[in-house]
């Protein structure tokens, strides 16, 4: 069980890093590597998208290797993160559309918020049960 779980964890880490790498290539490639070549840009975005799907599958496989307590911890964390993301994300968007903030609301800020919120929720929930 532990070996299979470790294998799933390494697979997820590998797919996550390669997703980050392909995201960087798709973001900076058109400007710094292939001079806005449309076909190459479309290819880079497609590779990044496919990589993202494989990362999601790897995450699901790891989730399926969790035991009942870990599932409970992650499920509660996911529920909180989802709720907070919807509420905070829409409020953030409203701040932008109503011009209450001077800058444009970026999706990357929301992604960062999701990551930090999930990490905090998992840490708090883990401490609750240990």
């Amino acid at each position: 069980m532990k070996t299979a779980r470790k294998k799933n964890l390494y697979q997820l880490a590998a797919w996550t890093w390669s997703w980050v790498a392909t995201m960087a290539i798709a973001t900076f490639g058109p400007k710094y590597i292939w001079d806005d070549h449309t076909v190459l840009t479309a290819l880079a975005v497609s590779v990044n998208f496919a990589n993202g799907i494989l990362m999601i599958i790897a995450n699901r496989n790891l989730f399926n290797k969790f035991d009942e307590l870990e599932r409970k911890i992650h499920l509660e964390s996911l529920a909180l993160t989802l709720g907070l993301t919807v509420v905070v994300g829409l409020s953030y968007s409203l701040l932008d559309t109503t011009n209450l903030i001077a800058y444009t609301a970026e999706i990357s800020n929301l992604v960062l918020f999701i990551g930090v919120t999930y990490l905090i929720c998992v840490t708090i929930n883990t401490r609750r049960y240990v």
Binding site: M1, D67, E68, L69, E70, K72, T126, R128, Y129, V130
Partner: protein
């Protein structure tokens, strides 16, 4: 829900890690069950009951306040 898991584990000289490996859960889960912070699922309760050769109600019991 209350349980006698810690006592039974000590009587059988199991560590939390040993019990976790046999039952197929993490050591943290065994710890959480022993501290009564987490109620195990029915399959886990059955596996524990089978391991200690005791009925489930002899290990887990409900105590109303």
């Amino acid at each position: 829900m209350k349980n006698r898991l810690k006592v039974l584990r000590a009587e059988n000289s199991f560590t939390q890690e040993d019990l976790a490996d046999i039952i197929g859960v993490s050591r943290q889960t065994i710890n959480a069950i022993e501290k009564e912070k987490f109620d195990p699922s029915l399959p886990t309760a059955f596996r524990i009951s089978k391991l200690f050769k005791l009925p489930i109600e002899a290990i887990f019991y409900f105590e109303e306040n």
